[in-house]
Symmetry: C2
Subunit: 327 residues, 2 copies
């Protein structure tokens, strides 16, 4: 069994979720004939490095392992020095310049190292350039986890629907704003109250703008437009309108006529905006669910619905990409 050496960059919610799932699935991975070994975990202030394999249980506890194998090396230095087989880039993205993830990804790809990432910003800003860099260096840049959390929409298309031409893609790509809109409808409350409720449940951040102003959705629209519809566009090409102006009155009026108001990413038209969705339509999902509809020329409309976020759920998509490379 060949060992695949992994460096995890960013050990926040997503990184820890990935480590947890690796532990949970240890036995099953061996049955699949895959040996994944985490040789580095890089954080902002230094890295844990152990070529024999980091003890993930201890790392998750933040325990003694940290002291013993701790080095002040930064992520880019770890990449260049240790040359893992796969870099897992899981830092939070900055949509203005894509850093620090962009630098990590470029360093890895340039050094002939595969990358798997959940970080939207670098791809939303430089999709084409990064894919080209991967191709040139004959490595893979896996990004299933950047869109739709656990929903394998990109690999679904690549591996099972490729004979289809995609005519358009629409989606509810942000669970937080969908939760807010659903709450507004169910409880007839204002946007502010619904956001507050989402914040109390840990679904919305203290500054909810990234979600409810449509920024997050737009980043995902960019990635889907490039990867599934062959458009060469960047984040700045997306027309964005969030849900701040949606009133309980507008939602009630829509409901009376048989519609829900949803924040829709329209990939074909490069647009994010609140739209009416007919009740009973596959896109009419409530709570923090995401839904993506591919309108194809042969298979017709295929919709996939699932949890768009969550550390454990996202690990499913990360692992799907990792396994593809490891085999």
């Amino acid at each position: 069994m060949k060992t695949t050496r992994i460096a995890i960059i960013g050990f926040g919610v997503i990184g820890r979720g990935f480590a947890e799932v690796l532990l949970r699935k240890k036995k099953y991975l061996r049955e699949l004939g895959v040996d994944l070994r985490v040789v580095a975990i890089c954080e902002v202030d230094g890295s844990l490095v152990n070529e024999g394999g980091i003890n993930l249980e201890e790392a998750l506890k933040g325990g003694s392992g940290k002291k013993r194998d701790w080095t002040p090396l930064k992520a880019v230095d770890v990449i260049k020095k240790h040359k893992p087989d796969i870099v897992l880039e899981l830092t939070p993205g900055n949509i203005k310049n894509g850093e620090p993830g962009l630098g990590h990804i470029i360093t890895a790809l340039s050094n002939g190292i595969n990358v798997v990432t959940s970080n939207k910003a670098p791809l939303a800003l430089q999709f084409y350039e990064l894919m080209n860099l991967a191709r040139k260096n004959n490595v893979v840049l896996g990004f299933e986890a950047t869109v739709g959390g656990a929903m394998p929409v990109i690999n679904l298309y690549q591996s099972t629907l490729r004979i289809n031409r995609i005519r358009s893609i629409y989606g509810i790509l942000n669970g937080t704003s969908n939760f807010v809109l659903s709450k507004m409808e169910e409880e007839a409350i204002s946007l502010d109250d619904a956001v507050k409720e989402a914040q109390e449940l840990g679904i919305a951040e203290s500054n909810p703008g990234y979600d409810i102003d449509g920024i997050d959705t737009a980043a995902k629209v960019t990635i889907l437009a490039n990867s599934l519809m062959n458009k060469r566009v960047s984040f700045k090409d997306i027309k964005i309108k969030g849900i701040r102006e949606i009133t309980p009155k507008a939602i009630e009026l829509a409901r009376k006529h048989g519609y829900s108001i949803k924040l829709i990413g329209d990939i074909k038209n490069l647009e994010v905006s609140p739209r009416l969705v007919v009740k009973g339509d596959p896109l009419d999902v409530s709570g923090s669910l995401n839904a993506i509809m591919l309108d194809t020329d042969i298979a017709g409309e295929i919709t996939i619905v699932g949890r768009g976020a969550g550390a454990i759920e996202t690990a499913s998509s990360l692992l799907s990409d990792v396994l593809e490379i490891a085999r």
Copy 2:
């Protein structure tokens, strides 16, 4: 470019849909580096055989090609004599004994020939035996098209969610009965009237029992139970209750309390029965749509929604299996 030689057995709605899609996608298939050549089309009373490749345009017209290349050879003889690379078994299935498809599939697999099929009956009766036969002969038996028409649920799991253990699977697996139930709710009409409407639209057959009595759903439950949940069961192990006894009153009562009545295939519990589904749930899809929900341990609940039938749509699933083999 390697040529893949295909024999199509059964040239009814599904077979013709496949041929049509092959014609439509000719150029794209070449771009993918795949050369598919139909060398035989077998019908009940004989076969069209042409090793140079059958002219599909003429075959679809039922034109002169039929006379020139026509032979009285039966499908099993064509399989043994011409040894195509892939047999496409597309005859209508008989759920009592699986014939004639079962014989075709066994003949092909035993002769070391790959099979791709949309025929539920043989798999619902002898899934394990057929898979074993394929394995022994080192060939593939592709059956994506047997469940959910265009929805690539089996390949979705196999290729992108395999790290997940499936806890349960529920689905609306029969478009006709879903259409009937939706009509009953929307128009407050009786089952008989809704069935009549479905028949007029070509959605239900003159004898609708196969669909509304849950037989078709049960066949699909069997296939999903074997393929995705590792159960070793046959069609006769499924507890079946169809929708004949559903009244407009029951539907109205459910609606008032926020539910729809749907014919659900419950794969974990090997059961087909009408059940209540909460409005707004991903499984609450109307019309002739199908929906399948996989409850997984890592990715959570993933639902896929799409057209469960249709000749062109089914061709998408058939081609997905064919391409997997051809490459």
